[in-house]
């Protein structure tokens, strides 16, 4: 039984009518089998145009429509809604693209008209076999997960938690805070980083809607938007935070001394330690890589002195399973290793620091309580050279991209240095100064004018130790003069790179990476916060180098996006999915092998479709030798009819 199809040919002003005889197309189609109504109009997408459609559907009792107009990427939704408004199922509407694929690419009116006819006929044949479909609705697990407890992760978690949804915040290290908590002051306002971050950290720890999992790593992710299942490995801290009174006796007796990550090796710590005073959760962690005590009878001193008996050597890693509806990924960044910098001495020289180390050096809570001293001999450095773009903007040897924040923090560093060492001299080697951002340019000017920082435009070719000094060979490309500075200290503004193992995590989450290994956004301009996987969002430096305000902004954006999902009872998935025919299926499983989404599986020797996972690509139907599986509304029969229609005449 043929349907009663309505055909609507759009002039699109002269965009179509200019090269296609739209009246003729409408007239020809009116005689096509199953076409009950056919007309043309100047702008189908206009309100009057759409009304034309809805009215025709009602008056002529149409059960399906074809609109011959521009590409479906533009107005498919429009006309599906028009169909709905007319009282028929939205999937009874198809578009015949006679603009981009016809009128715009041809001049010969006669030929273009014939082609427009064929395209329209084939759309009519297709819609003739369209099923009425209802979007597949999926219940939403109304919880969120944030991976990464840096400023971005903290912000996203708090924003979501404050809208009333439960959030699971997963952090790999013993405390949240990320790199921001290591900073001393922040540009351009020079306010104390810890002072502005620690309140947020505390808020996280106290928030009733936030479940904090530190010292934990994501191990497995399954499911789909609205219904993710995440397996998390909680590493043992060997300390029970409930019992621990933070008396700090244990560290006093711990015989092991190892380098302190928090101070980037500028200081040491014990095997049992608290990462830093404001750590959240506020508790000690026993790092089993260094503690001998885990080996039976090896040490056990800390346990002996721990009155509350908070230390438990027998703690084992546990696997926590969380069900969430959406995931925000905020895995942050690491600095490009000094050891990579051949020209700057592979990080061998004690007095050549990277940006973060210098932050610690300036920090009141740092190794030197905020006094700037050379790590080698604890003398006050009188001449300090700051090198920008160390590892950035160097496609040949290092990273091709600009790490964006270095110009600003180097200016800040130079400034902080001057504030600590008034008679000292700061030099900054730079390629360009990129100070776009609110108050940023002014900040750089202040560094030059108020603190007399010397900016040298050029690259440093080599640095090496010589008689307790660091000799810096560079060139000032403005004066063209070679420059040699015997510095007491050199600070490298190392490039930002994705944090360690971000790629492994991306694999688990099935989200893509860009060429530099940062997480790939769904669209560089229009969807900068979404990942390519539905229901997963990106926040902070994990997506690209960012400074704090940007990271926070994106985090709040991601939170908003995530909440947009969580605030729904159910999600809707396109119903144009695969459909199997058990009578024809022999259970060979070829379709199961080719499905990119694991949407197909075999059950009692027949294939079954998990509709919510199916994206409707149809590779299964082309692979099946027995026509036992096809995609709704673009079935082999429809293609067959479309081929026939396209070739007729």
């Amino acid at each position: 039984m043929k349907k009663r199809t309505g055909v609507f040919v759009c002039h699109c002003g002269i965009n179509i009518a200019g090269t296609v005889d739209v009246k003729k197309v409408a007239d020809k189609l009116s005689k096509h089998d199953g076409v009950a109504h056919s007309e043309d109009y100047v702008y189908m997408c206009s309100d009057p145009g759409q009304n034309l459609i809805t009215d025709a559907i009602k008056e002529k009792k149409l059960d399906s429509i074809v609109v011959s107009c521009c590409s479906p990427t533009l107005h498919e939704k429009t006309f599906r809604n028009a169909a709905k408004a007319g009282g028929i199922n939205e999937f009874q509407s198809e578009i015949a693209n006679i603009r981009e694929q016809c009128s715009w690419v041809h001049k010969d009116k006669e030929k273009a008209t014939v082609k427009a006819e064929k395209i329209t006929r084939s759309a009519v044949e297709r819609v003739n076999k369209n099923e009425s479909l209802e979007p597949i609705s999926i219940p939403v697990t109304r919880r969120a997960m944030v991976i990464g407890g840096g400023i971005a992760g903290i912000q996203a978690a708090l924003d979501m938690a404050n809208t009333g949804f439960e959030v699971v915040l997963v952090e790999r290290s013993p405390s949240i805070g990320g790199h921001m908590i290591q900073l001393s002051e922040t540009f351009p306002t020079l306010d104390c980083s810890q002072c502005i971050l620690s309140p947020k950290m505390v808020e996280v720890s106290k928030h009733e809607n936030i479940k904090l999992l530190t010292y934990s790593e994501v191990q497995e992710v399954s499911g789909y938007v609205g219904n993710f299942k995440v397996k998390i490995k909680k590493n043992p801290t060997f300390v029970d935070p409930e019992k621990c009174t933070l008396c700090d006796e244990c560290t006093k007796v711990c015989p092991v001394l190892t380098s302190n990550e928090f101070d980037l090796g500028l200081t040491g710590r014990r095997a049992i330690y608290m990462p830093f005073p404001q750590a959240i959760p506020a508790t000690f962690t026993l790092d089993d890589k260094h503690c001998p005590g885990l080996l039976p009878i090896a040490c056990g001193k800390c346990a002996d002195v721990c009155d509350p008996g908070a230390i438990d050597y027998d703690q084992k890693p546990e696997i926590v399973e969380e069900e969430v509806g959406t995931i925000v990924v905020a895995t942050g960044f690491d600095l490009y290793g000094k050891e990579e910098m051949a020209e700057y001495g592979y990080g061998k020289y004690a007095d050549v620091l990277d940006g973060l180390q210098f932050e610690r050096l300036c920090s009141a809570s740092g190794p030197t309580q905020g006094e700037v001293l050379r790590p080698s001999d604890h003398k006050v450095p009188k001449e300090v050279v700051f090198i920008q773009c160390s590892g950035s903007r160097d496609p040949e040897q290092h990273c091709a991209y600009c790490s964006k924040i270095c110009c600003m923090y180097t200016a800040k560093h130079a400034m902080l240095y001057k504030h600590h060492v008034h008679d000292g001299q700061a030099y900054i080697f730079y390629i360009d100064i990129r100070s776009g951002g609110k108050g940023y340019e002014e900040f750089v000017q202040r560094a030059v004018e108020e603190d007399g920082v010397v900016y040298l435009r050029g690259k440093v070719s080599k640095i090496f130790e010589d008689k307790g000094k660091i000799r810096v060979w560079g060139v000032d490309t403005l004066s063209g003069k070679d420059i040699e500075i015997d510095a007491d200290m050199v600070v490298l503004a190392q490039a930002m790179r994705p944090s360690k193992d971000a790629d492994k995590l991306a694999k688990l989450l099935k989200i893509a990476l860009d060429k530099d290994g940062f997480l790939q956004e769904a669209h560089p301009k229009l969807r900068p916060i979404e990942s390519v996987t539905a229901g997963m969002f990106l926040a902070g430096a994990a997506q690209a180098p960012k400074d704090i305000p940007e990271a926070v902004a994106q985090a709040s954006g991601a939170a908003a996006k995530a909440v947009a999902i969580l605030s729904q009872e159910r999600l809707f998935h396109s119903p144009q999915v695969a459909k199997s025919f058990p009578d024809l299926c022999t259970g060979c499983g070829m379709c199961v092998d080719v499905c990119p989404y694991d949407a197909l599986s075999l059950k009692d020797g027949k294939v079954v479709v998990t509709e919510v996972l199916c994206e409707g690509c149809g590779t299964c139907s082309a692979t099946c030798l027995r026509a036992a599986i096809e995609v709704k509304n673009i079935t082999p029969l429809q293609i067959y009819e479309m081929i026939n229609a396209s070739l007729g005449g």
Partner: protein, 344 residues
């Protein structure tokens, strides 16, 4: 009438039939088939052709009508009858001719199939009696046939050395003789004795035989449910060889075959169909009265040796042996029939 035609003058005779389309068995890559030929291509020494002359009298595909739809969607229909062209088929084996005569019964009688007869009436069959069996599986004599049977033939030639002994049985036959009166002479007594001898020897040379065929039809009546069919059909692969190659199988299918969809153009086509194909008896309800190969094999045997016999008092099988020679799995109708005959 009875005549003598020397082999020398045979080509002349054929040449005189210029107004006819001439068919005869020719060989290509070891396969023999009836093709349009010239006088000199005709030979008397050939094995069974793959397909019998059925392919000419009842082609695998023929048109009934042509349909189309004009620009305004108005449909048009024209009947298509077989073309006007008289033809003579030389070298028809007596068994194959008998097959044609059986098919005449099917397409004639109460209802005459216009398409079949339009074609059939234009065909003159000139047989050649089999002095030596054309197939190792010949058994015509077991099914009321013979190497020189005349049933269905217009003319029968018998090769007696340097000349043919010519018999005609129909006006059609007489016509093609009279077209070249001069070439034919009246048979002498020697010719007659020679023919009789040749015919007798041919019967003796029959490679295979099936005794008491008469017993088979009544026996079949009670064997419909027998599990003999299951056993015999075990190795059947359900291909269409036995039936498509059979000179008497005549089942057909009618389809509308579309050559262009817009504007609509196509033909209504009759093609051979085949009771061994699983979809032959498939009902649109999904019910298939012959659901397995046993029932399909049974159908073939029953049709040839019971249903047809009931209706037309003849075995439908004419003993050409094609189905035996070409069966991919060596199902041998003679052996099957013996099992039927001796079934207790």
């Amino acid at each position: 009438m009875q005549k003598i035609l020397t082999k020398k003058s045979f080509p002349k005779w054929v040449a005189n039939l210029a107004t006819y389309q001439i068919y005869a068995p020719v060989e290509k890559d070891d396969l023999w088939s009836y093709e349009i030929v010239t006088a000199d291509e005709i030979t008397t020494d050939y094995p069974n052709t793959v397909l019998s002359p059925k392919k000419i009298t009842f082609p695998q595909r023929e048109f009934f009508l042509e349909f189309s739809q004009n620009d305004d969607g108005i449909p048009g229909v024209t009947e298509l009858l077989p073309e006007e062209k008289e033809s003579v088929i030389f070298g028809v084996r007596p068994c194959d001719a008998k097959g044609v005569s059986h098919m005449d019964k099917v397409f004639g009688g109460d209802f005459e199939d216009a398409y079949y007869w339009k074609r059939r009436n234009q065909v003159t069959l000139v047989g050649l009696s089999c002095n030596t069996p054309p197939s190792p599986n010949c058994f015509c004599t077991s099914v009321d046939g013979s190497p020189h049977s005349t049933d269905g033939l217009d003319v029968l030639l018998t090769d007696i050395g340097d000349r043919f002994f010519v018999q005609t049985f129909t006006k059609k036959g007489d016509r093609i003789i009279n077209a070249s009166k001069g070439l034919f002479t009246a048979p002498k007594p020697k010719d007659k004795t020679d023919v009789e001898k040749v015919h007798k020897d041919a019967v003796k040379a029959m490679p295979r035989s099936l005794k008491d065929t008469k017993k088979i039809p009544p026996k079949l009546k009670d064997l419909f449910e027998a599990n003999l069919w299951d056993e015999e059909a075990m190795s059947c692969i359900q291909c269409g060889i036995c039936t498509y190659l059979c000179p008497t199988c005549h089942c057909f299918d009618i389809n509308d075959e579309i050559t262009s969809h817009s504007p609509l153009e196509g033909k209504r086509v009759r093609t051979w169909d085949n009771c061994q194909f699983p979809d032959f008896t498939m009902h649109s309800s999904g019910h298939n009265p012959r659901p397995d190969k046993a029932s399909r094999l049974r159908q073939r045997i029953m049709h040839k040796f019971q249903y047809f016999v009931e209706k037309y008092k003849n075995f439908q099988c004419i003993g050409c042996g094609r189905c035996i020679s070409k069966c991919p799995v060596g199902i041998d109708i003679i052996q099957v029939l013996e099992k039927v005959r001796d079934h207790v």
